[in-house]
Every structure is written in C-alpha cells, then in structure tokens.
C-alpha cells in the first residue's frame, strides 16, 4: 500500500564544511527514533573512514525517517545527504533534483560561504523550496540575527523566523522538523503512470551488485519488473527494491514520490549512471527526466606503484574503486621513468586526493603520483584540434599553431581584510579580475577568471592560509582560452624524465624550471658520477644544476664486533637502491616526484 504523497517530504541539507550538516542529520535521525540510540555514531551517514576524518561527505546517502507532527500526522521524511564539494557538483545537482526542498544550514559564527551559495543556487535552479536554519547559536561568538540578515541579503529568502538551533546539543531541532513539513511541498506523481526514477547515486554491494539510489517520480517498481536505463538502453530484471533506514532494507515496492534503491544484478556502477532515468522495459516513459549528462573528468595525473611489482595490485585496486565511483577514469600508460602505471582522470582536486588516499589506505599501496594536469586543447598548423591530458603527448612545437587551456569562473567569499592578499594570490595565478561586491559591511565576494591549471594544485591551501581559513572558494568551468603555454621538460644526465614534464605559462617557465631543478638536486642522492639536472623548453636549456658525484661511500671502521651489523647495513643500502627508479643512467627515489609537486 503506497504511502500517501501528501505525507512525504523529500529534502537535502546544504551546508558548508563544518557548519554542522552531518550533526544536524544525526539529531534528526535520533529525534525521529529512526536508529536506536545504541546504534548511533557520529556522522552516521558518512560511512567511509575518510569522510569521518575529514568531516566531508563524498558519496550521497539517504535515510528514511518517520516524524509525527503537531497535527498528529505521521510524515515520511527522505533525507538525501549530498557531497558538498564543488568537485561533486554534478552529483549534488542530481541529488537535489530528487528532492522538493533543501534545508540550508548556516553557521551563526561564520556566515554564508561560497560553496554553500553555489549549492543554494543549484537548489533554487532545481525548483526546491529552501528551509534556512541558523546553527551553532550556543557558541559565544554566534550572531544569529546578523546571519539571518545575511541570508536575506545574499539569497533573498525570509530568514528571521528561521529555526535557530544547536545541532550539537539538539536545541530547537524539532523546529527544523516542523519547518520541513510546513515549507517543503509534498511530491506529486502518479503511481500508475509509466515508471520514471531518477538515479542520484549508486553503490556497489558485493552480494547484490550495483545498487541504484533512486527517486521515483512516476509509476511503481517491484522485484521481478524489467527495467531499462534510458541513458544506455540496457535492460535489467529487478531483484530487490528497498529503502534506507539508513541500512538498506528491502520492501515490496517503491512508488511515485518515494526514495530508495533498486538492485538488478547490475555488474558495475558504470552501468547505472548518476542522472540516468530508469523506466519500465514493458511500458517505457516517453522521455527521460531532464538533466542527465556524462560527468567528465577535469584533472588528470599519472599514478604509479612505488614498487613496479605492485602494478597488478594497483590495477585491481582501481578496478574495485571504480565499481563504486563511476566518475573515476583511468587507462594504462607507460612512463620511461616510472614504468607501468595509469593515467587517471578526476572530477577535481579533492576527488583526486580522495582516490589517492583510498588507494593507499584501503589497498595498502605505495604510490608515486605525477603533477596534476588539465586537458589542453591543441590547434595544429593543419587546423585540426587535439585534446591532451598528459604533457608528454604534446606534439612538436613546429606542428602547433597555438594552445588553449581551460579557464574557470571563480567566486571567492572572504572577510574584507583579506581581499588584498587574495587578489594578490589570484594575480600571481594569472587571474583576471572580473568584479567585487560587498555582501555586507565586512564580507566581500570577488569574481575572477582563473586558468584551471593554476588552481589544481595548491590554490585552495594558499587561499586558506592567506585568509587564516576564512575565505571560501568555488568555481565552474568557463571554457577554453588561447594561452602562451610551453612544455617544460627536465633532463637528468641528458635524458628527459617524462614523468616530470609539465605545461606552464611561458612567463612562469623560467622561475618554475629553476625551482624544480634546485629541488631535484636536493632530493636526488649523490651517485657515482656527476648528474647535470636541466630544465628545458623545447631544445633550449633554461636552468642547470648539478648533483655532485659521491666521493666517499665507505664505512670508516669495521672490526670484529661490527661485521654482522655492517653486513646488514650493506643489505639495507642494496634494498634501498632496488626501490629507486632508474631514469636513463640516474637513480631517483620515488619521493623525488612528489617533492617537485610541492614547489610553486
């Protein structure tokens, strides 16, 4: 028996990192008795270690709660928890599309941040009703009235009557539950119409295969139904449908307005794409739900096993991660310096870091990663265009008419005292100033157009350090622009080390070349011969440093008591050499590649 639509509320929570999203979700789960107290843990919806540690949400998840309102009715709440980060913008947009409303949580001590704003706009674009909530009012530095005013000024929604809560202590969380009932509209949909269900995330289960997380808009889906992916045309037989409690619990059916999952022996999450519409194979809908697009990776880097023998392990680990992360792409590549590895594509920097961390942590791999790169557009002298994501693949200069690089529209929100420092940062990163306005007396919003390759490495860290952590940042791809780019190569003892090559703006090439060459001299251990370290653009050497030859490598003393110890020492030295990367005639420690990344 379908639950009456007028008693269903589907909503997300939007908040900046640390503004209390997961804590509020925990309190709502508790106050609706969804999970027994003894089973509660903090950040209940963030099940990955890395999510809990970093206080971020990477995967969407959902939970069904039942709330008895003051009108005596029992409402079904489906809370869809979304990743907040710009890298996962598309996932967020699909999760929001699955809802009728969004709870906006703003920290009363901090105010609105750039990413929050981006997500609120996304919610409004998707036609969602926004329920503002002002959090952390129990902190001494909280300014709830000022925060409410800021919400009204910046977003343009009434906020003075917004619930003022402490998610931590649970204060006034009941007001949030009531506001959801009042403000978020119930879903509309026809359980008897042809099935349309929006996939907003997917998860790989070892026993059930890929689970599609769906919001059913029209129709009903039951085990045994044949369903069709409207994006790929693939058909599957439904083996199970269920809801999140938050643990998956199978139910008889999902009907229009409900949120849950569909299992259909789907082998990989790649076959159940986020944003896809699932319909019935027997009675298909005439057109899919709007908004589907293929998520394209924006940032690329080479990932290699530190120990070449672990190549197979790395491949298996990537295969497993991809089961659960359809936006991760990779293909095999070979580097003369690093041997066999993978060129991996990511949605953004955070995504890249997370994948690297999960590979190292969950699969116990030692990795060497090359400098992150964006996709460059190459216009050849023949007029043809080529896209490359690996600097090594750049054609000879003579064949290139010009190069184009991706640029982004960046929004920075910051207390006004840091404007100078942040503009300097953007300027250093070849940013073009667009405009700046005061959100309120002491808070400023700045717009810049920035080359994507200038922000993929440490821009965010710099932004945070130059604003003492107060500035926030968001960006969206603007397009490609012509740029005076050059490929910067590094030669070790005369041989180009491909894994160190990068594409940089000509104005930056000299400084960068010198800095990297100096750094390499520090990290390359002395060897039996002198090693020239050169930076080059095309055939032209722009910097040269030298790793001097080792002159003494011998134990000064060795007597009767030292022999066993000395033997062990030699074995250790030998072992260390085995782990080095051989680039032409030069041995490089794996961390040489990482240390070069840290230069700016």
């Amino acid at each position: 028996m379908a639950y009456p639509n007028e008693l269903i509320r589907n909503f997300s929570i939007i908040a900046h990192i640390d503004h209390g999203k997961s804590t509020l979700a925990d309190r709502m789960i508790e106050q609706t008795d969804t999970v027994a107290m003894r089973d509660m843990s903090e950040q209940l919806l963030d099940s990955m270690d890395i999510e809990r540690e970093r206080g971020i949400t990477i995967k969407s998840s959902a939970v069904r709660m039942f709330y008895t309102h003051t009108d005596g009715k029992r409402y079904m709440f489906n809370l869809i928890d979304t990743p907040g980060h710009v890298d996962f913008n598309y996932e967020v947009s699909r999760a929001l599309a699955a809802c009728e409303g969004a709870v906006l949580v703003v920290d009363a001590t901090q105010g609105i941040e750039a990413q929050t704003l981006a997500n609120v706009y996304l919610a409004v674009d998707n036609g969602l009703e926004v329920v503002p909530v002002i959090n952390k009012i129990d902190l001494p530095s909280a300014e709830p009235e000022r925060t409410a005013q800021e919400i009204e000024d910046v977003i343009g929604i009434e906020a003075h009557s917004a619930p003022k809560i402490s998610a931590k202590s649970g204060l006034n969380v009941d007001q949030v539950l009531a506001a959801v009932v009042k403000t978020v509209p119930p879903p509309v949909g026809d359980p008897d119409a042809p099935l349309t269900a929006l996939v907003f995330d997917c998860f790989y289960d070892n026993y059930k295969g890929a689970l599609s997380y769906v919001r059913v808009f029209d129709g009903t889906v039951r085990p045994g139904n044949r369903i069709r992916s409207m994006a790929t045309g693939h058909e599957f037989e439904v083996t199970e449908v269920g809801v999140f409690t938050p643990a998956p619990m199978s139910v008889d059916e999902l009907t229009a307005g409900e949120v849950g999952y569909i299992a259909a022996s789907i082998k990989s999450v790649a076959e159940t794409k986020v944003g896809d519409t699932i319909t019935s194979a027997d009675r298909p809908a005439s057109k899919p739900l709007p908004g589907y697009k293929q998520a394209n990776p924006m940032v690329f880097c080479g990932i290699y096993p530190a120990d070449g023998a672990q190549y197979g392990d790395l491949r298996d680990a990537l295969d497993k991660l991809r089961l659960n992360d359809a936006s991760l792409s990779y293909e095999q590549e070979t580097s003369n310096a690093l041997g066999y590895g993978f060129r991996c594509g990511f949605l953004g920097l955070l995504h890249m870091e997370i994948v690297q961390e999960r590979l190292e942590r969950e699969f116990d791999l030692d990795l060497v990663t090359t400098a992150p790169s964006v996709i460059y557009k190459i216009v050849l002298t023949t007029g043809e265009e080529e896209m490359i994501d690996n600097p090594s693949n750049l054609p000879p200069v003579t064949e290139i008419e010009h190069l184009e690089e991706p640029v982004v529209n960046a929004t920075i929100m910051t207390p006004s005292e840091y404007v100078g420092a942040l503009m300097e940062l953007c300027q250093e990163r070849r940013g073009i100033f667009m405009d700046m306005n005061y959100i309120e007396e002491s808070r400023v919003r700045i717009h810049y157009v920035l080359p994507l390759n200038e922000i993929i490495y440490d821009f965010f860290d710099q932004l945070k350090s130059r604003s003492r952590g107060y500035a926030s940042f968001d960006y969206e791809l603007k397009g490609y622009e012509k740029s005076d780019l050059v490929k910067l190569d590094f030669l070790l003892n005369g041989d180009v080390c491909d894994a160190l090559s990068t594409i940089v703006h000509r104005d930056r090439a000299y400084a960068k070349g010198r800095a990297v060459a100096e750094k390499l001299c520090e990290v390359i251990p002395r060897q039996q011969f002198e090693i020239p370290v050169q930076a080059a653009i095309g055939g032209k050497i722009i910097a040269r440093e030298t790793v001097r030859a080792v002159r003494k490598d011998v134990l000064a003393k060795c007597y009767g008591g030292d022999i066993t110890r000395k033997k062990k020492l030699l074995e250790k030295q030998k072992e260390g050499k085995k782990r080095m990367r051989q680039v032409g005639t030069v041995s490089l420690p794996s961390d040489a590649f990482m240390s070069v990344l840290r230069i700016n």
Binding site: K552, V554, A556, G561, I563, T564, K566, L570, K574
Partner: protein, 377 residues
C-alpha cells in the same frame, strides 16, 4: 692465526660521538674482572676454540681503567687457559686521561706490548667539544711515559670531519708523525644515532662539514701520511713498515677470534663458520655467568656463500686486497670465478687492481667500497 678480544665496557665519561657499549665508572669493578675470568674458564672448558693465538686485544670502553694487578690477573688467566704464542701481539687501548707512568710500567710488565692511544685531535678546544677527558699535553706525557715503560709499538687514533678545519686536521697528523708513533688510525667521524653529537646535529646546534669537505680532508690526510712514511694498509689505518696491527689484520682476513666481556663478539670454525655475540647488558652478563652459563646473546651459523662474502667485504678493506691463494684454499675456487658479475662491474669502472696474488680495490674503489661490495651481493 687467531685472536682474542676482551671488552672493558667502562669509561670515566662517554664521548659525544660514541655508540659503543660502555658504562660510566672511574675504575673497573673487580666483579667485572672476576666475571671475565669466569668466562675465560668456561670457554676454555668447552674446548671449542682454535689451538693457538697470535694476538690479544683489550678494547673498550677504556681498558686503561684496569689497574696493573687486574691486567696481570687477566693475562695470567689467558696464558693459563689458552696457548698464547710467545711472539703474540698483545694490545690495549689507552685513554691519556687515565694512566700514570707506574700503571703503564705495570701493563708492560704484565705482558702488554702494543698501545693504542685515543687522541682524536691535537686541538684542546676540539677535544673538549667532543667530550674527551684529556688534553694534547696529556697525550704527549702518556706517550713519553709509555716509551719509558718500554713500549715500542704505539698507535694514535685521530679523527676528521669534526670541524670544517682541514688545516687543523693536517696539523694534528703532522704533529703525531713528528712524535714518531708507529701506527696511525685516521677515521672520519661517523654520526651514530643515539649519541649526544647526533642529537646536537639534529637540533641544528652543530653543522657538520659537508661531504665534499670531509672527502677533501680525508684525501689530504692519506697523502700526508704516505709522504711521512706511514703507508695506508686499510681504509683508515696507516703504519710504518712492519707495524700493521696484527690483531685487526686477522679480522680483515676473516680469521678466527674469541671475544670475552660484555657485548664482545667471536667467530670460530665449527661445522659452519659461526659468529657469537655476547649480551650487551652488564646485569645479564653477570647473571648468566653466575649460573655457570656462557653470556651469549646470539649465535649465527653462516652458509659458505655468506662466509665467502664476508671474506670479500673484509678483505677488500685492505689495500692489499683479498689473497687469491688463501681464498681458493678456503673455498675451492678463485675469487674471479666466484664473482664474475662483480669483477666485470669493477673492471668497467676501473676500481680494481688484479694481480696473480690478489684482487684489490684501488683508491677510487676504496672510496666507494660500499658500492663496490654491492656488486658482490
């Protein structure tokens, strides 16, 4: 050829660079001497040792903390239990801050015929900074007394890499040559973990000279000593003709030796080439001996392949290198046949000197001995 090593693990004060097993004491406790005698007896009774010995070496620590009587009793016990040859070299290490003319005379009478005096530098400020308890003047007095006591075979230890001063180091070497000692050990400082000096460097209080500067110092030192008539016979050891340290030569020939005392090592030919290490805790040493047990911490029985590598690793420290005939007699084949890959690599780099008698590293090969040995592993 076989040797006996005795460890005296006590020092008035530990030097800043030292990571050897030693305990701070102003004298050697009689209980330790008694324990040594017990250990000697235990090993003698076991019957598992070489037939005769040509060298004895008292190392430390500071063996010169032993009184004349203590030394006398140990040597008496040694000769009672083992066949120490008439011509044996009997050495002891000696710290200039710990001896008197009387004590030196007593050592000589007891049978000691070679002294190895720790000097390190002739510059008092430097000596003080590394925690030595003596001055250069005290060294000269000790040397004088030693000669008066009848010692004619004397080594001085010197160290470089302590400061940036190449001139200071060469001055020290010249001064010691002028004094006419028969043997000089010239080491580069090794920064060992868990030493005060290492900690100072870690904390940035001391900046050791850079690698190239130390290499310059060492090279200049080798040249100086050779022109002064001290020929280099091992990586860090120099001697006048006929005054090489026979005890240490035995180590580098990978010969048998017994070791007595805390943390002492031994190697003997049993069914296999077998290395023993004594416990390094004083309490444990006493405890085991009281119960009539040998104070062993470790016994390693080596496969022939490993024994062979040891012969290379030790033999290639010698400027004369590995004796081909001795190697062939020991293992049944020639060095070059046993290690074709290593030989090829060393020849390619021109780090090797091959003659019918021996295979040796040249100066470059010795400088990079660790790399050279890598090819044999």
């Amino acid at each position: 050829m076989a040797g006996i090593y005795l460890h005296i693990p006590f020092c008035v004060k530990k030097c800043a660079y030292c990571d050897f097993v030693s305990f701070p004491e102003g004298s050697v406790p009689q209980s330790y001497v008694d324990a040594l005698l017990t250990e000697l007896e235990l090993v003698a009774r076991s019957g598992s040792y070489p037939a005769a010995f040509n060298t004895v070496f008292f190392g430390g620590g500071t063996p010169s903390l032993l009184t004349g009587e203590q030394m006398q009793s140990i040597l008496a016990s040694l000769t009672a239990h083992f066949d120490i040859r008439e011509s044996a070299e009997i050495s002891m290490e000696c710290n200039p801050g710990t001896v008197t003319p009387e004590k030196l005379a007593a050592y000589r009478t007891a049978g000691i015929n070679r002294l190895s005096i720790g000097l390190q530098s002739t510059h008092d400020a430097l000596l003080k900074s590394i925690g030595r308890i003596h001055t250069y003047q005290q060294f000269r007095e000790t040397l004088q007394s030693a000669r008066e006591a009848g010692f004619t075979n004397i080594n001085a230890d010197l160290m470089h890499g302590l400061s940036n001063q190449t001139e200071q180091y060469l001055e020290s070497l010249n001064a010691v040559c002028d004094l006419g000692v028969q043997h000089i050990s010239a080491y580069s400082l090794i920064l060992e973990e868990h030493t005060p000096l290492f900690d100072c460097v870690e904390r940035g209080e001391i900046t050791p000279p850079d690698e190239d500067r130390v290499a310059d110092m060492q090279d200049a030192g080798i040249d100086l000593l050779e022109t002064r008539g001290y020929y280099r016979y091992e990586i860090s050891n120099f001697a006048q003709e006929g005054y090489e340290c026979r005890h240490n030569l035995n180590y580098w020939h990978n010969g048998e030796y017994l070791g007595f005392g805390v943390a002492a090592h031994a190697v003997v030919r049993e069914k296999k080439w077998t290395r023993y290490a004594n416990v390094s805790s004083l309490e444990e040493y006493y405890r085991l001996l009281t119960r009539g047990k040998r104070p062993l911490a470790e016994t390693i029985r080596l496969a022939p392949r490993d024994e062979m590598f040891e012969c290379i690793m030790l033999g290639l420290r010698l400027v004369r290198g590995v004796d081909r005939a001795a190697f062939a007699a020991r293992f049944g084949f020639d060095v070059a046949d046993a290690y074709p890959y290593a030989m090829e690599q060393l020849r390619k780099r021109a780090w090797i000197v091959e003659t019918e008698q021996s295979i040796a590293l040249n100066r470059k090969g010795l400088d990079l001995q660790n790399e050279s040995l890598g090819f044999f592993m």
